[in-house]
Subunit: 165 residues, 2 copies
């Protein structure tokens, strides 16, 4: 059977390929978030808290505005989540030196520890997927994912120059 040349409708193939992409994204995101969600639940937190902790950990000293731009939620939504994290000692705020209206955000030691615990599982998932797929596949993954992201946010992922790999 494997040798039989089946008549192929290229439009059907394309449709199938696109739908598989949609589903890959759905399933990957579903499974990618499940493990941290379980940990967060122990703290009485949710996915929103993880996002805040993640991005503050990644960009120490970032402003509230920066965070709002990344998360694309309202300041009221962020406020509740961020307020809890500050109150419970995971994040600190300090006024900006150049613009004192700003509150620069940073993880505390406790926050760093939680961030590590949460993101560890996700890093492990990526590490396994990257390892199994190989370097070339990772480059392709990166290209396609960048193409899915709104153009405005692509510069967040700088080109890897000759120093890379």
């Amino acid at each position: 059977m494997t040798d039989v040349k089946t008549p192929i409708n290229p439009l059907f193939l394309r449709e199938e390929e696109l739908r598989q992409g949609i589903e890959l994204l759905f399933f990957a995101y579903r499974d990618f978030t499940a493990e941290p969600d379980a940990i967060l639940a122990e703290y009485g937190y949710g996915r929103a808290h993880h996002r805040v902790i993640y991005f503050v950990g990644r960009n120490p000293g970032m402003t509230v505005s920066d965070l709002l731009t990344i998360l694309r939620i309202t300041k009221q939504s962020l406020s509740r989540v961020l307020g809890q994290l500050v109150e419970e000692g995971f994040i600190t705020q300090r006024p900006g030196t150049v613009d004192r209206r700003q509150r620069l955000l940073e993880l505390t030691e406790k926050g760093t520890e939680l961030e590590r615990q949460l993101t560890e599982r996700q890093r492990a998932r990526f590490a396994a997927a990257y390892r199994d797929a190989g370097a070339e596949a990772v480059e392709g993954f990166r290209k396609v994912m960048l193409g899915l992201i709104d153009e405005a946010d692509r510069p967040r992922f700088p080109q890897r120059g000759p120093g890379w790999r």
Copy 2:
């Protein structure tokens, strides 16, 4: 500067690569869902409705159990969403022929139309990303994404044999 051999810490590179993966997934999912969300809001629906409509459209005649397994939510959560879609004429239920306890789900014509409208934007996004990235990158994307998905669900994405491409 480009020729300068900078001392590279491979552990740092790996960490950076993994974090970029995490962020690519976050941003891609954020942008991938934004457009359909806006359309859904016009109907008073949310993302949960889209997921139901999508998977029923993709697997006509699927059971409620099938859907629960895919979505990984409780039957109570699904019930509300599915109930609305049935009531408002987007989905039909008919008893299974072999097992009459089952309710086999299908899109109505109206449901098919909404599905098309919603998924169209997402297909377009993938089509553009695939086109810009090239066939080889798409294959890499597929490999990495499959590696991110729980093993149990990987068989949902059958290998493309010699008939493909």
